[in-house]
Amino acid sequence: MTGAALASLLPLPVVLPIAGAVAAPLLARVSARLPVIAAVVALGATAAVLMLEAPGVFGGRVLAHYLGLWRPVHGKALGIAFAADPLGLIFALAAAVIGAILLIYTLSELGGLGPRELGGYACLFQLLLAALIGAALTADLFDLFVWFEVAALASYGLTGFFLERPIALEAAFKILVLTTLASFSIFTGAGLLYASHGALNFAQLQAALRGHVTTPDLIALGLLIGGFATKAGLVPFHGWLADAHTAAPGPVSALFSGLMVNLGIVAIARVTFGLYGPGSTPVLGLLLVAGLASALLGAVLALAQDDLKRLLAYDTISQMGILAVGLSTGSAAGIGGAAYHLVNHALFKSLLFLCAGAVVHRTGLTSLSQLGGLARRMPVVTAAFVIGALSIAGVPPFNGYVSLGLIHQGLLEQHEAIAYALMLAAQVITIAALGRAAWLAFFRPRAQDHGQLEQLRPGMLAGLGCLAGCCVAFGVAPRFFLETVMAPAAAGLLHPGRYASAVLSGSARLPLPGIPFDYAPGELAAAAAGLAAAGILAWGYLQIAEPAAVRVLRAAHNGSANDYAAYAVTGTLAVIAALSLLPRLPGHGVVSGGIAHRAGPGLASHGSGRHRLGCAEGMLHAFVAGQPVGESGDPQRLGVPVAGARQRQRSAGGHELLPVTDDDRQAARVHEVDSREVEDHPAACPPGLCQAVVKLPARDDIEVTADRDDHAVAPALGRQPESFHPASRRTGPLPGAATQAHRMPAYPLCARQHPPRRGAGRPGQGSARNISLGAEPAAATRSPAARPLTAARGRERSTGHYAARRNARR
């Protein structure tokens, strides 16, 4: 199938489980188990469709599709985009496959429920899975919010499922309060982003946020992160997680821990890497701090728990912290490790929760102090639990070792020694917690034997076996999975520009990083030492009383919904404050770009970054065109039209008019390319004016070429030429005089024009002319070309070569 046809199938994985969910209440009238069987079939079909897409996407492509065929116009998206990048696809596949396994498990374990109960369960389960798949595959911010909400509402019903347990309803209340606050955060953040930039598409937003991130954008980022972190269960947004996982039915807890909290992390990754770009905000440092706090707090509290499922829930918080730490490294190994850990966590945590659910379902006991001696009675469950525990512990044949090792590698690459040490400490405590749980629940001899316990049914055996087998498989073939799946996933996050250009144009290739992995003896020794330390810690913890620090932490988790909400909102405020008040980390060294307004004779500018090295202070004015995204390292595009390109406008006073996209908002930017970095200077097109002015400090010298397709510039920069638009190039310091442009009275110009190397692209326009720079700003803004924008709106012809070039590229 062609790429476009494959891409058009992308909504199907969302629609199929929804169809199953709609059919569930009807099927429940026929037979109790039929809804669940239909659900398994629907998820199998979903997995099949996703596997159809898999070869292309995992080969390093991003497939995009616009629903309803509403393709973007001039780079502005009108409809909703669905984009399958490797990270989203692996998450969707995991959701479909593990969801099917959990439903098979439900069929045998909870198959005795009444028909309406089971029908409602199947309906909500499938809606949750459909929402997870939808959120993973969407490329639209508001669509992400809608699927997030669907997942939330389905999770409320599933949490409070066993109505006879009072804790189920209490947990449902707390998850309601916290997730509603989170959805409010996300909604407001999305609304602020739309109001600032007029875009909901990830690609468009990324283009708008490139280089110049204003304070409302940072507040929006803080709100978005606060909301998604609540879903992900990061500290301090985690109040609902332990309660909800304790009270929900076994397979539902597995679904929550294995898949639903991962949705929060995937969304954070999308927003951080895909929208804002990790370098422009201090968000990676925040993720590191939050991740380490979650890892430690989750591990310590897991060690102190008495309830088996609550222990596993706190371990989920810890693992989410480790995921956040992996993401925060920003390197290929770290992010690849985080993606690997995402899948691994889905596998081993589902396994552990299914075991815990089996224990509760058979014995009716939930607390570790009352359990014990189950190894003889439930050997299969014990074995599965041990496999899951060993996987989390990072013991080599199992999958945890690979992903944790990769994250360690990422941390060490970034020279984060303290973070590495803290993460190791969290891992040791986690292993101790699980070891203690295994001992107390399964291996400890119990004085009074359990009564007759039910045998395992085939569905349960199948479910446990599948998950355990996958844990082993992902552990023994790490390089295979790294190459085929995880490296592309990391590439998708590390190259957001490619993702964005795929979303705008339909598909794009991702450069695949090589992520080396081998069983280094140092890591193995560290793992062994960690196991030994954990064993000692677990043994010690069984003997001593609760230390004071743990008692304080437990007292802070006092079960009150108000207090948990207070923690979450305080966390959101802290994130917002940190993002907006901390100095922006040095990323790509943004040269100050200006946004020129029409107000007044002088040009007002706002927003300035750091200067780079350079020459004298000066201002350079250029008319530039709006261009879609590129990314660091790509030769950038600067549309330089020729006279007559805009048929309705004359160039003003010797200036070249560059086509501005028919957009009332920020439409213009200039991309400067030099041998190292690419800058992006958003400029505004004031309404009513078809030109944009960018004010740049001319310490750096802008050389603008009218080279249409880059052939001259690119080799000089050591890159392959692409058939894009002309690039501007930064050269060395120039003598101050501009050419035929007017001299700016107060500002010396450091610009030079460069004769074009190639002819014009459009017939009838004569030879390509140069851009002339440096006009009197007041004159510039009062140029006669200040026609109302409506005259040119919607007419693709008037954008001259720019439109022609774009159409040719499609």
Partner: protein, 122 residues
């Protein structure tokens, strides 16, 4: 600046958030969340307003304008109104689920005080 709208939205939001954070009665917490949702509706609609614009209803244009000029002219933002519709539906849905959960909690714990409904602690 339609200051009154933004101030009202801010006031609703603050009252709602305060109710969620500081009030123990579960019904009051639900009402607080409803108030917060109401503030977002007002906020979105106010954001969609443009100075001197008319509603994005092209059916009966104001006198002096045709449908075509209205489409190219000054109307409020319909996309944010879509946001708001979605948010209204979400609010209804969440409030329905909330109230049913609160009634069940009241049946079990026989109280509406969230400080008494704290079985899972630590």
């Amino acid at each position: 600046m339609i200051l009154a709208n933004y101030l009202a939205s801010a006031a609703l939001f603050c009252i709602g958030l305060y109710a969620v954070l500081a009030r123990r009665n579960m019904i009051k917490m639900v009402m607080g969340l409803s108030l917060m949702e109401g503030s977002t509706y007002l906020f979105m609609i106010s954001l969609s307003y443009r100075a001197g614009s008319t509603a994005p209803v092209l059916l009966n244009p104001p006198p002096g304008q045709s449908t075509r000029t209205l489409a190219h002219g000054n109307v409020a933002d319909p996309v944010l109104q879509n946001f708001c519709l979605t948010a209204v539906v979400i609010g209804v849905a969440v409030t329905a689920v909330f109230l049913s959960v609160v009634v069940r909690i009241a049946q079990h714990y026989r109280t509406l005080d969230s400080d008494r409904v704290r079985e899972m602690r630590g």
